[in-house]
Symmetry: C2
Subunit: 187 residues, 2 copies
DNA sequence: TATTGTTATACTCTATAACTATA
DNA sequence: TATAGTTATAGAGTATAACAATA
């Protein structure tokens, strides 16, 4: 296989030079997009303790899915010790509370305070706008498609597959060229 | 499984509880997928100076797109000082060379050595496998779609739009429910 | 004994600022 | 003067290890 030549295995290439670009590479591309997202979101939640991480922890608490610090840390991809510091900050700001799990007092449930719930609601607007800003290059049907596929990958990567059936998501996407509302339920 | 369920603006939700999950959120999802990718690729290029970054710098050099350290650093999302260290390591390993740009001797062109080209070739296989591993949950048409859309976003985020025309990408995707090989060229 | 969470320490990574050389 | 690249220093973020509480 030729190297520097136009076209890699995934098809794309060249600007004016006839050579593939870094941005055509999947791994490079996901890094670029992730950093672009992180940048706008950091700005949107700049005054929240923990920044984007604090936002997601708060979100998990509001959603009622923060049943232990360890599992939360794993899903966020951070060390459990860092989760401790993060929760210290959020708790000090009066946004969440730690409550021992009655059935296993080693675990802590993370519950949002009223202020925390309110704060999260206030922030979810700007954060949503930041997302839109990032995705606005994509015309609408493609935008929804991208969101759905990304969601499928995330569920898979975090071992939460039961929820999203990739085959169904895909058949939906394939079957409906235009007529499209948000991806609907997944199961 | 619940049937009619709480829904967020982007459609998805709940496992068994009827509540949305962190993984349904776009921003959270992209972080999860990025980290999952980073993890497998770091393993694949563990012995390369600079890890994944070193791999991409080497790739840019091989592609002939590494015309200055500053522009490279910007595309990679790192500081120019870090690029210096990174190139020191790669050069010391005999993988790239710095050559002053004749037309502006402040710039350095980054060129791959023969060893560097060879090394990159050797690594691109395992890295490609790592990508496949990450994406294998998606049935084929969706996988190609995801790659194409991500590429479009990356080009946009890094200001290289001229290359990829989103409208064309999307019309291709929309128009072709099943019958489709890899997205082909984009322009 | 194994696991959750906490704390203290050490380390890695990154940014900041100051410098050289080119333009 | 402004920019590309380098270097040294300081800081932020992170991981490591040891500890307490619970199972």
């Amino acid at each position: 296989m030729s190297l520097v030549t136009p076209q890699r295995s995934d098809g794309t290439a060249d600007p004016e030079t006839g050579r593939p670009q870094l941005e055509d590479d999947f791994g490079f591309a996901i890094g670029v997009v992730f950093r672009a997202y992180a940048k706008v979101v950091e700005a949107a939640v700049a005054d929240l303790p923990g920044g984007p991480r604090g936002y997601f922890v708060l979100m998990a608490a509001v959603q009622g899915h923060a049943n232990s610090q360890r599992s939360l840390a794993e899903r966020l991809g951070i060390d459990r010790t860092i989760m401790t510091y993060l929760l210290d900050d959020l708790e000090r700001a009066g946004l969440v509370e730690r409550k021992p799990d009655p059935s296993d007092r080693r675990n802590r449930h993370i519950l949002p305070t009223e202020l925390g719930t309110q704060r999260w609601q206030e922030l979810s607007g700007p954060v949503g706008l930041a997302e839109q800003q990032l995705l606005e290059v994509l015309p609408e049907p493609a935008r929804a498609t991208f969101r759905a596929l990304l969601r499928t990958l995330a569920h898979h990567a975090n071992g939460r597959d039961a929820v999203t059936d990739p085959c169904q998501v895909v058949s939906e996407l394939d079957a409906s060229p235009k007529s499209r509302r948000p991806p609907r339920r997944t199961a």
